[in-house]
Symmetry: C2
DNA sequence: TTGGAAAAACGAAAGATTTAGTATTTAGTG
DNA sequence: CACTAAATACTAAATCTTTCGTTTTTCCAA
């Protein structure tokens, strides 16, 4: 079973599942299914299909333990965050991260705490750079 | 022709077209088509279909001038940037914009100038909030 | 005023995504 | 060893996306 063209990004549902898997570290189909949002009511087979697709696409791997497969993420959340940000920056911000942050900061629904937190982060970063 | 469920986000190709439309302000199918990347070789009818879909989904509007439609974006690029960032922040950064910025700053090793630029932006923003 | 070129309208085909049903396999128990 | 419960494998249907061909409309010039 050859894996397709190695998808770069997760679809909506795939991300939903990966997020749960990142949370629990590793787990079976049932483990992941149990972690989905309360309202979410997916058949077991649907969940299994999603996990199989994630494996086909190379985002997770599995090892058989007893009769069940235990899944583990191959891509860390950090790495996927980076990949997604890079993509967004390219596609929507002319590859200029500063303008991305500018837009984020200009948005009205950012709390003052959040703004301060970001500024402290930058201060630390600037300090380290000069060390 | 009822417009579907009001899509929130642009697909890959839709974003490609919207980006061109944002660049030129407004234009016909041919205007947008002409702006696409050099290698991109789409049939006129394909481009027309994309523009029609964009209108159906409520992202653009059109007015007839002579025999052709002139399209105009209904959603500004700024607004779409905000929407996209909000979505990414929710889905991948636990709704914590600071962690998004942290990831960005850690990845890109931004120049000191860029970092300073962002910090000044924050300072201005924080100052305005307290006014 | 009519013929032709350009554009719009329509819709179909191919592929991806999302969901789930049915069939098959497997591990353990009586 | 045979049966059963649970898991996996396979398949399919519905919808969305991307692309483009065919048909219809529209404007203008000869």
């Amino acid at each position: 079973m050859r894996q397709k063209k190695k998808a770069e990004f997760l679809t909506e549902v795939e991300l939903e599942f990966m997020t749960r898997l990142w949370e629990i570290g590793e787990g079976t189909v049932r483990d992941v299914l149990a972690k989905l949002a309360p309202g979410r009511d997916l058949a077991y087979t649907s969940a299994a299909t999603i996990m199989r697709i994630l494996e086909q696409k190379g985002f997770v791997t599995s090892t058989k333990q007893g009769k069940t497969f235990v899944y583990r993420a191959l891509l860390t959340k950090d790495a996927y965050q980076s990949r997604s940000l890079k993509d967004l920056s390219e596609k929507l911000f002319d590859n200029t991260p500063a303008s991305l942050v500018a837009r984020l900061v200009d948005d009205n629904d950012l709390s003052k705490d959040a703004l301060n937190e970001i500024r402290e982060l930058l201060d630390r970063r600037l300090k380290n750079d000069t060390d």
